[in-house]
């Protein structure tokens, strides 16, 4: 079985599916000849030709808007927006059209398409390169929002996104693009969109997290294990629609929940998860649901980034705090 990092898994999945499905076209800034600034689309142009994998001018709204028309006329566009911070120029097309075309046309026009971009910080990048905007997308009806955390999940979720009849926002945690490798089956497999993954079972506390924070969380959890604390760790995989069942079931078992995210704290995905457990498992809660997040500030330039990124010790401390809370 091949051993891939996240970028290789992405590339591999695209390669396999483009072979199978001639309607897939992949494009974006530096995506064609260069193969993407992170090399996710490398070799695709050489293999499938310039019409199926191509470079675009620097126009994010244009890229996404064009994809809308392409999807309507029989193609399956996979667009790359170069960085999380450059998704904003495309917001009007995403919110006003991508998410709505099916509903607006009562099913006449549908948009099977994938919008990929790297998100999150921790790579000492320039401004706008380290954003975690998942809450903005998750709030929009009509979108699905996915964020894999391993090479195995990356392939399975990307294949699922490519076969989804609806638009999928595919957020790639750039900090772990090359952080580690994993066996990735050559076989065709999909990971269902909308299903979370219990990465580690436990009974003392439920931790929900996604993307690059899964690894940091697991590290803190290991430390907690040594102290005899056994959290259950849920990798959300899909942010919207959220796997509420898995979360609720776990909270009913543990009575406690902690959400770990890289995004700022307020009005975030973590907030929604807390609201959810209140509505669905209030009487099971033995401690206040807690969040480990970035503070509500603009992502600093790299020399201040370490103060922004949730520190593994913060997770560890919060685990202890929640577990030791006595009602």
């Amino acid at each position: 079985m091949p051993v891939f990092n996240n970028i290789q898994a992405l590339n591999y999945a695209l390669m396999q599916e483009m072979e199978k499905d001639p309607s897939i076209v992949v494009f974006g800034e530096d995506v064609g000849y260069e193969g993407g600034v992170f090399r996710a689309t490398v070799d695709l142009q050489a293999k499938f030709g310039v019409e199926r994998c191509f470079d675009t001018p620097i126009s994010e709204s244009g890229i996404v808007g064009m994809a809308v028309g392409m999807a309507i006329n029989g193609l399956k566009p996979v667009v790359e927006l170069q960085f999380c911070g450059f998704t904003y120029p495309a917001f009007n097309q995403i919110i006003s059209h991508v998410s709505r075309m099916r509903n607006r046309s009562r099913g006449r026009y549908t948009l099977p398409m994938v919008i990929r971009f790297p998100f999150g910080g921790g790579i000492r990048a320039l401004e706008h390169h380290s954003e975690s905007p998942e809450a903005l997308f998750a709030h929009i009806p009509g979108l699905k929002v996915v964020a894999p955390s391993t090479p195995y999940d990356t392939k399975g979720l990307l294949l699922a996104a490519l076969r989804d009849p609806d638009p999928v926002i595919f957020m790639e945690p750039k900090r772990i693009y090359r952080a580690f490798k994993q066996e990735v089956p050559e076989d065709d497999y999909v990971i269902e969109i909308g299903k979370a993954n219990i990465v580690k079972e436990g009974e003392d506390l439920t931790i929900v997290t996604w993307g690059a924070m899964v690894r940091d969380t697991l590290k803190a959890v290991e430390k907690a294990n040594e102290k005899g604390i056994h959290p259950e760790v849920i990798d959300l995989r899909t942010i919207a629609p959220m796997d509420r069942e898995t979360i609720i079931k776990s909270v009913k078992k543990t009575g406690r929940i902690l959400i770990v995210q890289e995004a700022v704290k307020s009005f975030s995905v973590a907030s929604e998860i807390i609201a959810l457990v209140n509505e669905k498992a209030f009487l099971h809660l033995e401690a206040p649901p807690a969040r480990v997040t970035a503070p509500d500030i603009i992502v600093p330039l790299p020399r201040g980034e370490q103060f922004y990124m949730p520190h593994p010790d913060m997770i560890y401390e919060k685990i202890n705090e929640v577990v030791n809370f006595l009602t």
């Binding site: 076209v25 019409e51 199926r52 675009t56 001018p57 126009s59 709204s61 244009g62 996404v64 808007g65 064009m66 994809a67 809308v68 028309g69 392409m70 999807a71 309507i72 006329n73 029989g74 193609l75 566009p77 120029p89 009007n92 097309q93 006003s96 059209h97 075309m101 099916r102 509903n103 607006r104 046309s105 009562r106 099913g107 006449r108 026009y109 549908t110 009806p141 009509g142 699905k144 989804d164 009849p165 609806d166 909308g194 629609p241 959220m242 509420r244 069942e245």
Partner: protein
Amino acid sequence: MLVDQYNPFEGKMLQILDPDGNVIEEKLLPEIPEDELVRLFKIMLFTRVVDRKALMYQRQGRMLTYAPNEGQEACQIGSAYALEQRDWMAPAFRELGAWLTRGVDLKTLYLYWYGNEMGSKVSEDIRILPVSIPISSQLLHAVGLGYAAKVRGLDEVSIAYFGDGGTSEGDFHEAMNLAGVYKTPTIFLCQNNQWSISVPKHFQTASETFAQKAYAYGFKGIKVDGNDIFAMYAATKEAVDRARAGEGPTLIEAYTYRLGAHTTSDDPTRYRDDAEVEAWREKDPVKRFRIYLEKRGLWNQEMEKAFVAEKEEEVEKVFSDIEQNGGTVFDDIFMYQYAEMTPILREQYAEWKAFFQERGML
């Protein structure tokens, strides 16, 4: 080629039929069979009937916000007539004439303005995107439709409709630029009706013409008398033919006028002179086509009277049907968010449905 003969930088505008119904450019007159000419005129008249009725229903509180079409029939119908069934159209929100030319049924059109999404579900054999409200956002869709046709080897072109005000948005620029780069078979049809709600065109751009903007993107633009159905057809046909031949996009500026209000929420007397409106009434696209047909003996007053009466009745029937059955079905607002309802939607659907059912509100 017309796009070369009528270089916008030289201040030229294509006109074939003058406001008095005279053909001033015989050799450019498109060859259209007589029955087709009459059919085209009937679409024009029908458009006007449908438009005025909609306005009336709105004033009576029976129709919702509506964007009147009057004055822009020639530029919409002449251009849409140059398309084949397989071609794609990405409209803005004021393209009644173009929709009717392509054969969309009136019920669908009225349903939209009645406030029901079913009015955006055109039948499978008609290639029109839904009304696009966010200004100029649909231009990119047209480029994408064209790109797809091109790489899939389909002989299809796309046309996008938008206004003078639409040229100010970033999406106009990105669409034009992308179409230029990929040489997509796309026609950009700018209906310069002189106003964007209350804002006159010289506050939209300092450019002399809208047509010349094409040259910033490596393709050609042409300014056309938008109230002249022959000029509009000729210019669009040429653009369509060139697009089919792989020669890429064209920008057409249809120089026209919105005779009515921006929408039924708007009062144009607040910002423009009656005199201006009256001057443009003289250039009415329907009037000039009618005179031309009358001169050729293809049309007369009686025919018009009978036709209008018949159509008015038809329109009334359609609308009264809508008033009876045009309400939004509750299920529909949940049903089309995704191919399959997500679990949370299923739950909400049940909850909301129960609420309204209990109150007999469904």
